[in-house]
Symmetry: C2
Subunit: 344 residues, 2 copies
């Protein structure tokens, strides 16, 4: 069996910087036409100059056929800063991190009542808001507790497109359906796993991410929405490369590395459910409809020939353990066909 996917887009990607960027970015570019790139470097990407420089480093790492849609780390940017950002054609939106909830989010937002000016300007300019939606409560409740913030933002800024990033619960899906200006991304790991997979048998650091994987009924609800082509649910891998030494240790970093085979694994998931016809919308179509994206032309042909996930991805002095290291997955890429230099 085969399926061709046109210009797959990863709506939530961590590429880090320096050697890790040079290792990770080409692995995303192998199967994706572009990705929305997160700004939580150290220090975070907060202005147009830093963003453009980061985009150049990404381009240098993976070439012109992969389009990085760039984001700024939301602080208290105003009209001037947003105009400067918007003059850059690859600028996409602002990412809101509540302070301290995930990797490199220490400089994030502490009080939501202090970012009203920025959000008002974003709404006026049509700049999307991407949100890491977790409270600082008990780890299994953080997303649910944050839903009140989403609700408040959706009501206060009806003209602002608010993306609930990497949602993990059935409750978030229900909220998504309540407000037209909410959209959402979901990762591969939250479609496949629950806390049982992370900590129900042996403890598996390769599956540890923020937000943590949740309950079986949450996973099932997310799967059902993705497989049935929910028009405001998009694939965002949240793929995050960490050095192996930060995963196999006593204080293991949050982040799951899936970018090199996420599309293949999704094809297997959609095929198994008899829903391959909805994969195009999930990995590209919905994002194009919602944001008017024009990704580089790239046709990726997927086939039900098993693919072996390497035990480790190495390069440039870095090594990253992927999700499912050493396992076989049922689908692989038979022919990624990069388009012409349509990259913005």
């Amino acid at each position: 069996m085969q399926i061709a996917i046109e210009s797959p887009i990863d709506m939530h990607l961590h590429l880090r910087d320096n050697a890790m960027l040079r290792l990770a970015a080409p692995l995303s570019a192998e199967t994706f036409a572009g990705a929305v790139v997160m700004p939580n470097l150290l220090p975070p990407v907060t202005d147009a100059a830093a963003m453009e420089a980061y985009a150049r480093r990404i381009g240098a790492a993976c070439g012109p056929d992969f389009r990085p849609w760039m984001t700024l780390f939301l602080k208290d940017q105003g009209e001037r800063e947003l105009l400067a950002a918007r003059s850059f054609s690859n600028f996409f939106g602002l990412k809101l991190y509540p302070a301290g909830v995930t990797t490199n989010s220490g400089g994030g937002v502490l009080r939501f009542d202090r970012i009203g000016r920025t959000l008002a300007v974003m709404q006026e300019m049509g700049v999307p808001l991407l949100v890491h939606g977790e409270s600082r409560g008990f780890v299994m409740d953080r997303e649910r507790e944050f839903l009140a913030v989403y609700r408040s933002l959706a009501e206060q800024y009806p003209g602002l497109t608010i993306s609930m990033e990497h949602i993990t619960t059935a409750a978030a899906l229900r909220l998504l359906d309540e407000y037209e200006n909410l959209v959402a991304t979901v990762t591969l790991q939250h479609l496949l796993f629950t806390l049982d997979d992370l900590a129900g048998g042996l403890l598996r650091p390769e599956l540890f991410c923020k937000p943590v994987v949740k309950r079986p009924e949450d996973r099932e609800a997310l799967c059902e929405a993705a497989l049935n082509g929910h028009p405001r649910l998009m694939f965002g891998s949240d793929s995050a490369p960490h050095p192996r030494s930060n995963k196999e240790c006593l204080g293991c970093a949050a982040g799951v590395f899936t970018a090199p085979f996420a599309l293949q694994r999704l094809a297997g998931l959609f095929a198994e459910a008899g829903r391959l016809e909805n994969l195009q919308a999930f990995v590209s179509g919905n994002a194009r409809c919602i944001y008017g994206f024009a990704p580089p032309v790239k046709r990726v042909v997927l086939t039900d020939v098993p693919f072996h996930i390497p035990a480790l991805y190495r390069g440039f002095g870095e090594s990253v353990v992927p999700m499912g290291a050493g396992e076989w997955i049922p689908w692989s890429v038979s022919a990624p066909l990069p388009g012409a230099s349509a990259c913005g």
Copy 2:
């Protein structure tokens, strides 16, 4: 400040075997007068001969001043096997593992309706039943789901003392109060930590055990019961040494190593809550009342002088990462005074 504890007992201890036993057992014997030793070796300890041989190996590792109360792994033992076991003065009870729920439990019980004969004989002979009370459901629900089994056992065998081992939830505590023939043990880690500590920040394999640490309200309920001297709640460390290579890896074993400093850490916890007067009952008195234990005479003097937990316990070619490796805790042992050779 100082407090003297008479003959502290660890009501739930894993010592493993061979080199690990030789490393771990003396560390328990430093502060405890005795311990109830778990039988989940590979193969499990299922008969009197294996139990006596294991007790001899424990004695060889830590000397005569530490009393190991021995348990058998519950299979389908009958009157003959239990009589043989009971002829050994250090025999304590049988441990029920539902098949596959924790380390080395593969040979455990699959169907509770098949062990009625064994339980009836135990009740008749006054042999306690110790239970790892988890279902095979979602990891956060396993203990709660198992409570129906506890309830059924408590009602079917009113003359059997049933110990709910290492309880982790407020719901288990409520059940404990419903039946006179239920008793319970609780670990140090379940008094101190929740899933937030295991997976809410970085992922911490050193805190990973079965049953997993639970919600804040569960921890609070357990603490309240222990600190207030609940007469049927006893300290059982569930301390379980795993080689370091099995904790810092991609498939991390369940088990937390606390035995060498559990008593000191408990002293800090009880002192902080102003409940030092209840520590004696929790770590010794309750067990003596419930089971009529006569532990070796040993007075341990604890004092509020900080103790540094080593990064690693090493010996005999093994190395074990303890809970809180490298951290300081507020209390230490100022004078462990082993009694005469009162060991049974």
